[in-house]
């Protein structure tokens, strides 16, 4: 240990460079350093059900230990037969979702035909890869992409890593800070070919579990009347689930948990 101290002045990082000094003492002052606390989207999930795929997300954006927004939307319609759920830095993620929408619509208008679901999934992967540099500085965007494959006649979903790596999931997946809890919940509750009502309830159970365990994820807000978003993608297109219906299911889940003590 003494040797280390004696050789300290040979350490390359201890020299007359001011930049090196700044890097050690106040890295946030360096240009292009790690990003400050920007709003992050937290939990989104997608799962297959009888008619296609269901996508759901909580409504909270979190910056550090602060709630940045209580009402943001994280599930976006990409086109008539697909949707993107965003997690990660909210600003770049929403920009990416908008760019992706425009990309799909542009292709459709110019070609007079839709991209295949695989084509759409690959394109989104390339966009995530373009964001890699920002991702290394803490502005990672990791969406979930789900859609109805017209050729195969089934719903499919894809997850990504920050390098744009694309992985198809068979049954369900979640992304964001509460994703582990949501996935754990889905692991127990998800069943093959669930009807719409049951699938919706399962998705909301998973989000409520995520909100329960993860500080960044927002649960159903009964005081303000803010509830998670749920979208369905089936053969007949991308559909919103009405707020009233989501509220009813959330209230039923919470009432059940109050009664039985589940999740306490």
């Amino acid at each position: 240990m003494n040797d280390d101290r004696r050789l300290h002045s040979f350490d390359a990082s201890v020299n007359s460079s001011f930049v090196e000094l700044l890097r050690r003492q106040s890295p946030h002052l360096l240009p292009g350093g790690p990003a400050p606390d920007v709003p992050h989207g937290t939990t989104v999930l997608a799962m297959r059900y009888r008619d296609g795929v269901i996508m759901a997300g909580d409504r909270q954006a979190t910056a550090g230990y602060q709630v940045a927004s209580r009402r943001i939307e994280k599930i976006f319609k990409a086109d008539d037969l697909s949707g993107v759920g965003i997690a990660g830095a909210a600003g770049p993620a929403m920009e990416m979702a908008k760019l992706f929408q425009t990309e799909l619509e542009h292709y459709e208008k110019v070609e007079g035909d839709n991209l295949s679901l695989d084509g759409k999934a690959n394109k989104l992967g390339q966009m995530i890869r373009m964001n890699l540099q920002a991702a290394m500085m803490g502005l990672a965007v990791v969406p979930i992409f789900a859609g109805f494959d017209e050729k195969a006649g089934v719903g499919r979903l894809f997850k990504y890593d920050i390098t744009g790596g694309r992985y198809e999931e068979r049954d369900y997946d979640a992304q964001g800070s509460g994703s582990k809890d949501a996935r754990d919940s889905l692991k127990k509750l998800w069943k093959r070919d669930m009807p719409r009502d049951e699938a919706m309830r399962t998705a909301l159970e998973a989000l409520i579990d995520a909100a329960d365990e993860d500080v960044g994820t927002g649960g159903p807000d009964l005081v303000r009347g803010i509830f998670p978003t749920v979208k369905t993608i089936t053969r007949s297109g991308f559909g919103d689930v009405a707020d009233d219906e989501i509220r009813r299911v959330c209230e039923a889940i919470l009432a059940e948990r109050t009664k039985t003590g589940t999740g306490s």
């Binding site: 908008k98 760019l99 619509e105 208008k109 110019v110 007079g112």
Partner: protein, 230 residues
């Protein structure tokens, strides 16, 4: 060195215009009509794959007559113009007027500078809101001349006859079926045969639709609207 032939500018423009007009006159026609819920575009076009009418943006449609490869180029340029404008600004900032002006500039430049003018006429239509903003229809000619049309427009080989027919028969507030039947009668005014759903390409800008107002009408519902279903 031999001197190049001298051709007076008047003569050159006249020749080019005549050349373009001849090309356009060979093609089939398109009519556009405002109806109660938006704008109807009817083209005589037996092909189901090569379109003359298409979507540009949320509330904007395009129609072209004349040489296919030339108006197809203009169509794609229009989509690019609209998407590049709507992405950084807002979707509401993309207007038919700006697009029609861009087409007018492009066709005008091609007409004066290139040896061969484009043998096309194009039409840009934008549907108004339900809350009273007016629909707009712009008609741009091969030389960049731009006109804004009201209620109806026609272009292509028999445009003059069709316009005369529509002037006598058009009235406000027609339903989709009525305006479609009028449009088809207008297209067949110079020919002896009756046009069926197989000869037609029909699309509407339907203001009752969400965001993207453009919708093609496939043959099945088309024959129902025409009242020719057996």
């Amino acid at each position: 060195m031999p001197l190049p032939y001298y051709v007076s500018p008047e003569q050159m423009m006249k020749d080019k215009a005549e050349y373009a007009r001849k090309g356009i006159a060979r093609g089939r026609s398109i009519v556009t009509l405002e109806y109660a819920d938006g704008i109807l575009l009817v083209a005589e076009n037996p092909s189901t794959l090569l379109h003359k009418v298409s979507e540009i943006y949320d509330r904007i449609a395009f129609a072209g007559v004349g040489k296919y490869n030339e108006f197809e180029n203009l169509r794609i340029a229009g989509i690019r113009h609209a998407d590049v404008k709507g992405y950084p600004y807002s979707r509401g900032d993309v207007t038919a007027k700006a697009l029609a002006n861009a087409y007018s500039q492009a066709l005008g430049n091609i007409f004066t500078q290139d040896i061969k003018p484009f043998e096309v006429e194009v039409l840009v239509a934008e549907v108004g809101d339900a809350n009273g903003s007016k629909s707009e229809i712009y008609h741009i000619l091969y030389d960049g001349t731009i006109e804004d049309e009201h209620n109806y427009a026609a272009m292509g080989g028999q445009a003059d006859e069709i316009r005369r027919f529509l002037k006598d028969h058009y009235h406000d507030g027609m339903g989709l079926d009525e305006s479609l039947q009028l449009g088809v009668r207008a297209l067949s005014v110079t020919q002896n045969k009756t046009l069926t759903e197989r000869d037609l390409e029909v699309a509407v800008l339907d203001r009752t639709k969400e965001r993207r107002k453009f919708r093609r009408i496939p043959p099945e519902p088309l024959s129902q609207l025409l009242g020719t279903t057996k």
